[in-house]
């Protein structure tokens, strides 16, 4: 759409800017303050330069948490995106079942995150949980509170359960918006289903899939509550993702300097990666 130049539009945006600025800029400046100061707990602060940043960037603990975080995000993207697309492709396009599918699939998205964690905890417990019992009954040695591998398996399965529907819903919205004429043309040309997928559906889905990946990336990188309730970061530190580690340092040990420096590094990583996705998305939009 061609937009009109109008500087008064700033007045329309002002309430949003003020509200978000109050919530974003003041706390962010607090974090910046802490990140460059040292305190001995008596409310006096000293300038400490980039000491905390050096400490964080060099600490093995941060590297490990970041590594686990990247692994987690990579795994869920690799599983959820193709799975979501496959499910959306198999969904009915019209009829009464569409609403049923949409409502049931959206359900996990509306459950409070700590309830998701608690639900999966109960579901996966080896003695009283259905999943734990089933796996152990099938002969697997499964105990997510003791074994790192089981913990990771449960964590990823939980996230797949929780968020694949987001990809399904987005893809489905994209598929439904493809005009019938495209399919008719393909039929006349005698295209097979894989050709339709490759040359009609996937290109049309590019835009929604970029959004899906962007959202899943951001949210999985920020994930805190579900793994915290499910495993508490354990066993040991096996499932301590970035957010969990950060809260441990900031609220648990009250090490404000390192926590603040870590927050900023963490935020910058998300910002950088999301900016890349965002640019890709906007470029797509400009092309269309």
């Amino acid at each position: 759409m061609n937009k009109t130049e109008n500087q008064k539009a700033w007045l329309f945006v002002l309430p949003v800017v003020l509200l978000v600025a109050f919530n974003a800029i003041i706390p962010l400046m607090t974090v910046v303050n802490y990140s460059v100061q040292e305190t001995f707990g008596d409310n006096t602060f000293f300038w400490s330069g980039v000491m905390w940043f050096e400490q964080v960037l060099r600490s093995e603990r941060f590297h490990d948490a970041l590594g686990r975080q990247l692994f987690f995000t990579f795994m869920i993207l690799v599983i959820e995106v193709p799975l979501g697309v496959a499910i959306a492709l198999a969904m009915p396009r019209k009829g009464p079942w569409v609403s049923v599918c949409l409502v049931l699939m959206a359900l996990p998205l509306l459950i409070p995150w700590n309830v998701v964690g608690a639900m999966w905890n109960i579901f996966a417990l080896p003695d009283i949980g259905l999943l734990g019992r089933m796996l152990n009954g099938m002969g697997f040695d499964y105990n997510f509170t003791r074994q790192p591998f089981s913990a990771w398996f449960t964590l990823i399965l939980m996230d797949v359960w929780h968020w694949t529907s987001l990809v399904v819903l987005l893809t489905y919205a994209g598929l439904v918006s493809i005009p019938d004429a495209y399919y008719q043309a393909a039929k006349i040309d005698g295209a097979r289903s894989w050709a339709i997928l490759r040359y009609i559906q996937l290109p049309k889905l590019k835009r929604v899939l970029t959004i899906a990946i962007l959202l899943r990336f951001m949210d999985s990188f920020n994930i805190y509550t579900e793994p915290f309730v499910l495993t508490g970061g354990g066993p040991g530190n096996a499932t301590t993702l970035l957010s969990i580690d950060l809260v441990k340092i900031a609220l648990g040990q009250f090490d404000l300097g390192p926590a603040a420096a870590m927050s900023l590094v963490y935020f910058l990583i998300i910002l950088l990666l999301s900016w890349i996705f965002y640019t890709l998305m906007m470029r797509n939009e400009a092309q269309q």
Partner: protein
């Protein structure tokens, strides 16, 4: 091949329902049955857990508190986002693109980063442990989301609508309220739904910003789990009840939900 295609969504939905079933199943069991035996459905069927929640104010006020701050947040976010989204979809102005991306960066911000500064900020302005504090804090990620969704829906409305209204002698205010808002009613519904959703499911900030008076149900649950032993049946019942408001609102937006997730950009 095509004949069995329905199996894919069916199996997926089955997978989605299993943990939910298990939670509901637990909520109707007595503590003895949960810990003593393994049963696929409640044998000693009991409403005890639900009774406790619905009669004990420390429990049911959690739901009331959550619903209050979620509602305030939804009104605030959508109300502020409406004019802003209109500006983004219709006008070019200095810094518009940067502003748009800056808004999105707040959607990316990990709540963990903001937990402590938020606690200090809201204590300093005297809002700690009020519904307003949580509602305001949640605007951090809900306003960007609402702006994005509404902007997407508004860009789908041709500009000729605005121009025709002005030719017909409508003032901007009257046009916006009488014509434009009804036109994008679906978008407003979807934006409100998403604000509701993300405010309802968030726990970390809500827990950090409240102590007693505005404590959300989610926090009541975590504190119960840790203080009064592990009452799984009670926890399961409380969890089951948190699913209801979500299921209720999904039903109303079911036809638009996918478009909303695409931020109005389908």
């Amino acid at each position: 091949m095509t004949r069995f295609r329905f199996l894919v969504p069916t199996l997926y939905i089955l997978f989605l329902m299993l943990p939910i079933y298990w939670l509901v199943n637990m909520s109707f069991k007595t503590t003895n049955e949960i810990l003593g035996t393994f049963t696929l459905w409640p044998v000693e069927f009991t409403f005890e857990n639900y009774e406790k929640i619905l009669t004990d104010p420390t429990w049911y006020m959690g739901y009331v508190n959550s619903l209050i701050y979620v509602s305030i947040n939804t009104v605030l976010s959508v109300g502020a986002a409406l004019p802003a989204a209109y500006a983004f979809s219709r006008y070019r102005f200095v810094g518009d693109k940067h502003l748009f991306f800056w808004l999105l960066t707040n959607r990316m911000a990990p709540a963990a980063v903001f937990a402590l500064p938020f606690f200090q900020l809201y204590s300093a302005v005297g809002l700690f442990d009020t519904h307003l504090a949580v509602a305001l804090a949640h605007t951090l990620f809900n306003i960007p989301l609402a702006v994005w969704i509404l902007e997407g829906f508004m860009s789908g409305v041709p500009k000729e609508l605005d121009e025709t209204a002005y030719v017909d002698g409508y003032s901007f205010g009257r046009f916006f309220v009488k014509i434009f808002i009804p036109t994008i009613a679906a978008g407003i519904g979807v934006a409100a739904f998403f604000c509701f959703m993300f405010s309802w499911v968030e726990l970390l900030l809500a827990k950090t910003l409240t102590a007693v008076d505005a404590k959300p149900i989610a926090a009541t649950m975590t504190r119960t789990a840790s203080t009064s032993g592990y009452e799984l049946g009670l926890l399961a019942a409380a969890g089951s009840l948190t699913i209801i408001p979500g299921a209720f609102v999904i039903y109303f937006v079911r036809n638009y939900i996918a478009k909303g997730f695409a931020l109005g950009r389908v």
